[in-house]
């Protein structure tokens, strides 16, 4: 029994050291939720490489008490979604900056700042803050999400009561080399309401973000995000979503660069005839030090006639590492479930690596579930076909990379947003032409 004791002691010590380095917010309407989250975190402890869901991703940089520096990066390009009419809310190194943000005014949508909501009684947010996160801790623990609920210093509370006329855009700027940001957002889509949420930017040297999204009956939530291009940034993000009957939840993430990114998405489909789609496109070039990208997805079907899709694509080169851990859990009684999961990687050289763990767990007998995972190189026949038409090798490769990513991008419903994402992908590919 001596060995496990030592391991637990190390875990406890690491967790306490991490907590000691944080200035935990006190009081306000989140006080109770934060105290509970703190207790959850102490119970589970910070993760280690031996934990089932951390075998492929080393949590050391996330566990460290201090965030290592990440060089600031000027992408020398216009703001993504800059041409989209939206309500822009800017966070600089994890702190909301009202000066450079738009007025948080949008018909049918209430927007409040977490850091200022403290004493006020925002009833819906008090019910939601930490609730989906707490529920999402079972059957797989997510310590960084508990840490986030306990320690988040800022974030937005968004409640849509009608169809929003334009998207809300969260812009995350990284302006201080050693910033360590913890943001927690709560989004409530009331019955029949609809909202598009955009997120762009690196946020900080180290970024821990949780977004809890509660989509009520018939509500629609669209989410498109692009994580910043800073090569040295690290990020751990969680989305916890609950989708009620006839509601729809759609999320797409573009990741280009970044030393380490882990995006977890935990979706509970709680009402009949609901839809949940989650997709991601990641492009990684390990020649800037390191590129490690991890998508960890858990979709639970707990209602009838629901549809879920997971579409994840990664393009890797120069020693980049991609990880996909995706699960579909179909609970007893969730009949007529249509669950789909695909994870694919395109390795542009022999140095890169893709690690996938697809899982299906089904307790209903009348369901349709499929999953697949592939790893491959550029298709030589397709490459020759393009070149034989006069397209140079680099351009032909770029076209085939876009072709590979097409299914993931197709998950973005809005054509304007999809076109902007494709433009960024093309730019990334152009920059990497030899």
């Amino acid at each position: 029994m001596a060995a496990p004791m030592r391991k637990d002691e190390a875990r406890v010590a690491a967790t306490e050291a991490r907590l000691a380095a944080l200035d935990l917010p006190k009081g306000g309407f989140t006080a109770h939720a934060r105290a509970n989250a703190l207790a959850r975190l102490r119970e589970m402890g910070l993760p280690g490489r031996r934990d089932e869901y951390w075998k492929f991703t080393d949590p050391a940089v996330l566990n460290a008490t201090e965030a290592a520096k990440a060089a600031l990066f000027d992408p020398k390009e216009s703001q993504l979604f800059g041409g989209v009419d939206c309500v822009k809310l800017v966070f600089v190194d994890g702190v909301f900056d009202a000066e450079v943000s738009d007025d948080p005014v949008l018909a049918g949508v209430e927007i409040a700042r977490l850091a200022e909501a403290g004493a006020s009684d925002i009833h819906w947010a008090q019910e939601l803050y930490g609730a989906l996160e707490a529920k999402g801790q079972s059957p797989v623990v997510r310590p960084f999400a508990a840490l986030n609920t306990a320690a988040a210093t800022d974030g937005v509370l968004i409640r849509a009561t009608a169809q929003a006329a334009k998207p809300v855009h969260l812009v995350y700027r990284h302006e201080s080399e050693a910033s360590d940001a913890i943001l927690h957002h709560c989004v409530k889509i009331e019955p029949g309401a609809e909202l598009t949420l955009l997120e762009t930017g690196p946020a900080a040297a180290r970024f821990n973000k949780v977004m809890e999204v509660d989509v009520a009956a018939g509500g629609r939530f669209h989410h498109v995000r692009a994580q910043g291009r800073d090569h040295e940034r690290r990020a751990i993000t969680h989305i916890f979503a609950r989708v009620a009957e006839e509601a729809s939840f759609k999320s797409f993430t573009l990741t280009v660069n970044g030393q380490m990114t882990r995006n977890e998405c935990v979706i509970e489909i709680a009402g009949d005839d609901a839809i949940a789609h989650v997709a991601g496109a990641a492009l990684g070039d390990g020649s800037y030090g390191r590129f490690h990208h991890d998508d960890t997805i858990f979709v639970t079907h707990d209602a009838e006639r629901c549809e879920s899709r997971q579409v994840f694509k990664k393009v890797l080169k120069n020693g980049a590492v991609g990880v996909f851990q995706g699960k579909i859990l179909v609970k007893p009684g969730a009949q007529k479930t249509d669950g789909y999961q695909i994870s694919q990687s395109l390795l542009l050289d022999e140095d890169s690596q893709f690690l996938a763990k697809p899982e299906l767990e089904i307790y209903a007998d009348d369901v349709k579930c499929s999953h697949g995972s592939t790893t491959g190189a550029i298709d030589e026949t397709a490459l020759f076909y393009l070149r034989s038409r006069g397209v140079g090798k680099q351009d032909a490769t770029a076209l085939l990379v876009l072709s590979f990513l097409a299914d993931a991008i197709a998950e973005i419903e809005d054509e304007t947003l999809a076109a902007e994402i494709v433009e960024r992908l093309e730019a990334w590919l152009q920059r990497r032409k030899k």
Binding site: D379, E380, T381, A382, F384, Y385, L386, R387, S388, R389, G390, V391, G392, K393, D395, A396, L399, L400, L402, S403, F404, L405, A406, D407, I409, A410
Partner: protein, 251 residues
């Protein structure tokens, strides 16, 4: 225009000689047909000329208007005016047919030091060419060859040829998988491109394509060599008696 001398080719991965000394000259304005049984090396010849990986040239030469084809990358051969219509056109999901064609045309023009074609000019050009081949706007918008029938894929190959305007066109078993109507449509497309300054090399198993695209010269290929050359009547002879007679006569 196309000059092939004693071309010898083996597969890179196995020590297997496919072409054992091919001699062939195709003049501008002419249509040459190559017929031959399976495994005679017809498709290999088309791939080696267009620059596909996997083949090793062990001897001989191939030039287009005096330029050494074998030294060029596939895209350079295309820019120099060579075009291969594939036996099995490749599906490229997520890349629109128009995007692909425009990228191809402008890449070639750039390589030749010509100005790129604007989006508007290009649209006009493609619509005009597509109409003749009965390719509708929907087909042009769809991803390259994805969900196309066999006939649509071959028509798409001819559309590419019409837009790119190569000088030397190689058609690799373009008739395979075509019904009678599609064959007529594809042949009409090819015939419309026949021109003083352009040459064709039509590879086929069967004489029936040559009813529509009438060749000036017919070659019979067997075991990696051109074994017999003649006029259009040679194709009729193959149709009537098969290859066995011709091969037996040569043996």
């Amino acid at each position: 225009m196309l000059n092939i001398k004693n071309l010898q080719v083996k597969l890179e991965e196995e020590d297997k000689q496919i072409l054992k000394g091919v001699d062939l000259t195709v003049e501008a304005g002419k249509v040459h047909a190559i017929m031959g049984p399976n495994g005679s090396g017809k498709s290999t010849l088309s791939y080696v000329l267009s620059g596909r990986d996997g083949y090793e040239v062990t001897g001989g030469s191939a030039t287009l208007d005096g330029e050494d084809l074998l030294e060029m990358e596939p895209e350079e051969r295309a820019a120099a005016g060579l075009f291969l219509a594939f036996q099995y056109p490749v599906e490229i999901p997520g890349v629109g047919n128009m995007t692909f064609l425009r990228t191809a045309l402008n890449s070639q023009r750039k390589a030749r030091g010509e100005d790129e074609v604007s989006a508007a000019e290009f649209l006009k050009l493609v619509r005009e060419k597509a109409k003749a081949l009965k390719i509708d706007a929907d087909m042009l918008k769809r991803p390259v060859n994805v969900g196309f029938s066999g006939g649509e894929k071959k028509r798409n190959e001819i559309l590419q040829m019409a837009v790119l305007e190569p000088r030397m066109c190689i058609l690799d078993e373009t008739d395979s998988g075509l019904d009678v109507d599609a064959m007529k449509l594809v042949s009409d497309g090819v015939n419309a491109l026949r021109d003083e300054g352009r040459a064709f090399l039509v590879i086929t198993h069967y004489q029936r394509l040559l009813d529509h695209i009438q060749p000036d010269v017919v070659h019979i290929m067997a075991a990696g060599r051109i074994v017999k050359t003649g006029g259009p009547e040679l194709a009729l002879e193959v149709e009537k008696n098969g290859y066995a007679d011709i091969l037996a006569e040569l043996a």
